[in-house]
Amino acid sequence: MAKATFRIWRGDAEEAQFVDYETEVSEGMVVLDAVHRIQAEQANDLAVRWNCKAGKCGSCSAEVNGNPKLLCMTRLNDLPLDQPVTVEPMRAFPIIKDLVTDVSWNFKVKEKMKPFTPRPPDAEDGTWRMEQEDIDHIQEFRKCIECFLCQDVCHVLREHDLHDEFIGPRFFVYAASLEMHPIDTENRLEELKNEDGIGYCNITKCCTKVCPEHITITDNAIIPLKERVVDQFYDPIKKLFRVFKS
C-alpha cells in the first residue's frame, strides 16, 4: 500500500507547530480518513471535529494545502502526494487545539439577528401557501451546512479581524434567507447596514469559491441585500418620500 506524509498542525493557542506523520493511503480516501488513521495509530490525542463524513454537517472544516476545505470531501487523489499534505485549522478563528478552532462567535452572531417572523397563516388550518418558484432561491440559502469556511476565507474577518463590525458571508446568507422568505414580515436592512457591516464586503467572491454546498453567496445573497440597503437608505426618490412621510 502507498504511503503519504501529512503535515498536521499540533498544539494550542500558546504553542503549536507542524508535525509530520506518515501513513498508508488507499483508493478513494479523503483527508479525514488519513487524519483518523493517524489519530488511531500514532496520535490518539489529536483533536479534529467531524460528524457525518458525507459533506452534510459542516463540522470538519480546516485548511488543506492552504485551501479552506471540508476534510471529509477532499479526496487524496486530487492532491499531490509526492509532497507532504499540510492540514491546519481555520485561521480566521482562535485555535483551541490542533485542528479545532473556537467558532462560538458565529453562534453569538446568529443569536443577535432578528428571528423569522411569519405573517398570519393563509389558511384556517394554520398553514401558508407558497409557490415552489418563489422559494427555490431561498432553498439555495438553506442548503448552508454552517461549516464557516466562507467566514474563514473572508478577508474582512481573516485579515482585518472586524468580527465586532461585520457578520460575514454565512450570516448574510442567513439574513437573505429570512429577508427573501415569502412569509417573513421582519425588516433587517437597518441592522445589515449598521451593525452587520454589509458595506465592508467588496464582492471579491472568495466565499462563493470555497462554499462546499456551491451556494452563490455573493451574487444571490450579498449583492441583492446590498441593493435593498441602497434602495432603502440611499435612493433619492425614496429619501424624499420619507421626508414627506415624516
Binding site: D12, S26, E27, G28, M29, V30, D33, Q39, A40, E41, N44, D45, L46, A47, V48, R49, W50, N51, C52, K53, A54, G55, K56, C57, G58, S59, M73, R75, I96, K97, D98, V100, D102, V103, S104, F107, K110, E111, P115, F116, P118, P121, D125, G126, T127, W128, R129, M130, E131, Q132, I135, I138, Q139, R142, K143, I145, E146, L178, H181, D184
Partner: protein
C-alpha cells in the same frame, strides 16, 4: 476532591438533535430554566443526515391518507410489536408537528397549489413524506435550532455526559465533561430528558458518526431504567460500498421513491422474486406498474423496491452471498434508467436528489444520472431502546424521560423510513412537556455528592492506567469487527454466545486502556470513555438477540427462520440491571390491541 462547575436547571436535556431540540423548545415555553447539553456543536447532530423526509398524514398529495392509515402502516411495518398507543399518538400528532416547523421558518418543497409536497416511501401506502429535496434533516434541525436559540435555553456545546445522578429513586442531574479543557461539570435538574440518538458505532459498517455510542441507552440502563427490544437494529439496505473509505454512508430511500430500481449482476430486478405475504396485495407485479406508482398513479401498486427496509436488506445479502453481487460486494441501484421514461431525466435527478448526486460525484466519481450506484446494507438505526410511557415518555426512573432514537416503542421490529423524523418531533415535544410538568410538580431535589468522587475516579482512570495498556481506538475497532461479524444481519445462537464472550473480554481490556496526553480536547480519552457505553449497548443487543429465538422484522436468526416460536406468541424483550450489576433479560407479552386499533388495522390493511 475533584473540582467542577455546577449548573442548576429545572429541566436538563441531553442531546441536541431533532428530539432534544424539540424537547428543549417545549420545556422552555413556561418560565422554567432549561439546559441543553450536546456532544457536538449545535446543529451538527445526526438529524442533519436524514434525507428522505418526515412522515405525516397531511394528505396534501393524496386525500385518501389519514392518521388511521399512517397508524396501520406503522404497526404493520413494525410487525405488530410496536407500542400501539405510541403509534396512535405519532400518527395523530405528526401533521401538526410538521406544520409548526413552517411557522418556525422551515421551507418544504411545494405542491402545485402551494402546500407541503409529499413523496412515496417504503411501507407507506400513500405519498406521506414532507421533504426538501434529499436534505430534509438539515432543514428540520436548522428550523429547530434557529427557533430554539431565541427561547432562553442555555446550551452547553461539546459537552459529554458520563453519568446520571440520582437522589433516592429519583433522577437529580448529570455529571459530564466539556471537551475543550476537559473540565468537569455537574448539572442539577428536577427532570432530565435523554435524546442522545443511536448506537451505530457499535458496528464496523454504519451510517452513524462518532457520537452514536449509545450514551442515552447506557446512562438510562445504569440508572435503573429498562431497555426494550434491543435486538432490533435496522440495517438500511442502501449504503455506499465503494470506495472503502465511504463504506456505510447512506444512500437515501428517496432514490427508490423517485423510481430507482435494484438489480443484481445479471441485470435482474431481484426484488420481484421475493415479496412477503403481508405485502403481496400492495405490491406491483410488473415493472411498469411500479414505475407508474412512483410517478403518482393512484391506481398502481408500489414497486418491490419500496418494501420495508429489513426485507430489502436481507434480499441484498442473499444476492451477494449467492454470487450475484456487484464488483465490490453490493448490488446495483439505478436511477439513471428513468431517462427511458422522461425527458430531461438528468436534470430531474439532480433536482430531486441533489445531495446524492453530489455525494457520488465527489466521493466515488460516479455520475448517478449516467451510471448505477453500488449499494449494500449499513447499520443505520436502532428500533429498541429506553422503555418509556407512551404519553409522557417517562422511564421507570422518576424524573427521567427519553425521546427520539434512544427511546423505544414506536417502531417495533422495523422502522419505516420517514417515521424517525416524525418520531423526534412528536415525542420530543411530549418529553419536553411532561419533563417540565414533572419539574413543576416535584420541586427541588438535592444532589447526593457522595457518588461524584467515584465517577471522577472512573473518568480519569484512562490517564492513570499503565502506559502499556491498550489503545482505545484498537478496542473500539475490535468491538466493531465482532459486532459486525457476530451480531449483524444474519444471527445464530452460536455466534451470539460467542459475541457475549468477546464483549466480556473486551470489557476487561477497556478497563485498562491508556489515554495519552492531557485533558484538553483529547479524542483518545473521549474514545476510551465512550467504550463504556458501546460495550453496554453491545451486550444488550447480543443478549436480546439471543433471547428472541425467531426471525421477525430486522432480527433474523439463521437457526430459527420462522417468525415466532409457535407456542410463545408475541412478546417484547426487556433488559434491566440487576442488583449484582449483571444484565438480566425477561419477556413480556405485547399488550393486546384495543378493539378500535384492531379495527383500523383490518380496515386499512
Amino acid at each position: 476532591m475533584a473540582s467542577y462547575e455546577t449548573f442548576e436547571y429545572d429541566v436538563l436535556i441531553i442531546g441536541a438533535g431533532g428530539a432534544g431540540l424539540r424537547a428543549a423548545i417545549e420545556a422552555a415555553t413556561g418560565d422554567l430554566k432549561v439546559g441543553l447539553v450536546c456532544k457536538s456543536l449545535l446543529g451538527k447532530a445526526h438529524t442533519v443526515m436524514a434525507e428522505g423526509g418526515v412522515a405525516a398524514a397531511l394528505a396534501n398529495v393524496d386525500e385518501r391518507d389519514s392518521w388511521r392509515a399512517h397508524f396501520a402502516d406503522t404497526m404493520k411495518g413494525g410487525q405488530y410489536l410496536s407500542n400501539a398507543r405510541m403509534a396512535e399518538l405519532h400518527a395523530k400528532e405528526s401533521p401538526d408537528r410538521v406544520r409548526e416547523l413552517e411557522a418556525w421558518g422551515a421551507l418544504f418543497d411545494r405542491t402545485q397549489d402551494g402546500s407541503i409536497l409529499q413523496r412515496n416511501f417504503g411501507g407507506h401506502q400513500y405519498p406521506r413524506l414532507a421533504h426538501v429535496g434529499d436534505r430534509t434533516g438539515l432543514e428540520m434541525i436548522r428550523a429547530l435550532q434557529d427557533h430554539g436559540i431565541h427561547q432562553g435555553i442555555e446550551v452547553h456545546m461539546e459537552n459529554t455526559i458520563v453519568s446520571l445522578l440520582k437522589t433516592g429513586d429519583r433522577v437529580s442531574g448529570a455529571f459530564g465533561y466539556e471537551r475543550e479543557k476537559g473540565r468537569f461539570k455537574i448539572f442539577s435538574a428536577k427532570s432530565v430528558v435523554l435524546a442522545t440518538g443511536g448506537v451505530g458505532k457499535a458496528y464496523k459498517i454504519t451510517s452513524n458518526s462518532w457520537e452514536y455510542t449509545g450514551d442515552g441507552h447506557s446512562l438510562a440502563y445504569h440508572a435503573g431504567a429498562e431497555l426494550i427490544d434491543m435486538e432490533f437494529v435496522q440495517f438500511h439496505p442502501t449504503g455506499m460500498v465503494w470506495p472503502p473509505s465511504v463504506r456505510g454512508i447512506l444512500v437515501t430511500e428517496g432514490v427508490r421513491g423517485e423510481g430507482g430500481i435494484l438489480k443484481n449482476s445479471e441485470g435482474n430486478r431481484f426484488m420481484f422474486d421475493d415479496i412477503p405475504e403481508l405485502y403481496v396485495n400492495q405490491t406491483a407485479d410488473n415493472p411498469e406498474e411500479g414505475w407508474l406508482y412512483t410517478q403518482g398513479d393512484r391506481d398502481a401498486r408500489r414497486p418491490p423496491e419500496l418494501l420495508t427496509r429489513d426485507h430489502i436488506a436481507r434480499c441484498i445479502v442473499r444476492e451477494v452471498q449467492e454470487g450475484r453481487g456487484s464488483p465490490h460486494g453490493g448490488v446495483f441501484l439505478d436511477i439513471a434508467w428513468i431517462k427511458e421514461k422522461i425527458p430531461n431525466a438528468a436534470e430531474h435527478i439532480r433536482r430531486k436528489l441533489p445531495s446524492m448526486y453530489h455525494q457520488f460525484k465527489e466521493l466515488a466519481d460516479i455520475d448517478i444520472t449516467e451510471e448505477p450506484m453500488e449499494v449494500g446494507p449499513t447499520t443505520h438505526y436502532i428500533m429498541g431502546g429506553i422503555r418509556v410511557d407512551a404519553d409522557s415518555q417517562m422511564t421507570c426512573v422518576p424524573g427521567l424521560f427519553a425521546a427520539g432514537e434512544c427511546a423505544a416503542g414506536l417502531h417495533g421490529a422495523n422502522r419505516l423510513g420517514g417515521n424517525s423524523l416524525s418520531d423526534l418531533l412528536v415525542f420530543g415535544k411530549r418529553a419536553g412537556e411532561y419533563a417540565a410538568q414533572f419539574a413543576l410538580e416535584n420541586g427541588d431535589i438535592a444532589l447526593e455528592e457522595g457518588a461524584i468522587d467515584e465517577i471522577v475516579q472512573h473518568v480519569l482512570k484512562p490517564f492513570d492506567n499503565p502506559e502499556d495498556g491498550d489503545n482505545p481506538y484498537e478496542i473500539q475497532a475490535q468491538l466493531q469487527e465482532k459486532m459486525q461479524e457476530l451480531v449483524g444481519i444474519a444471527r445464530s445462537q452460536e455466534n451470539l454466545t460467542q459475541a457475549l464472550e468477546e464483549i466480556q473480554s473486551l470489557r476487561e481490556k477497556a478497563d485498562n486502556v491508556h489515554a495519552i496526553g492531557n485533558r484538553e480536547y483529547n479524542a483518545g480519552w473521549h474514545t476510551a470513555l465512550d467504550l463504556d457505553c458501546l460495550l453496554t449497548v453491545s451486550e444488550a443487543i447480543a443478549l436480546a438477540a439471543l433471547e428472541r429465538r425467531a426471525s421477525i422484522g430486522a432480527h433474523s436468526r439463521d437457526d430459527y427462520p420462522e417468525k415466532e416460536e409457535a407456542d410463545v406468541g408475541k412478546y417484547n424483550t426487556i433488559l434491566q440491571k440487576a442488583d449484582d450489576g449483571t444484565m438480566v433479560i425477561r419477556r413480556e407479552p405485547v399488550p393486546e390491541l384495543t378493539e378500535e386499533s384492531q379495527q383500523i388495522i383490518e380496515e386499512m390493511g
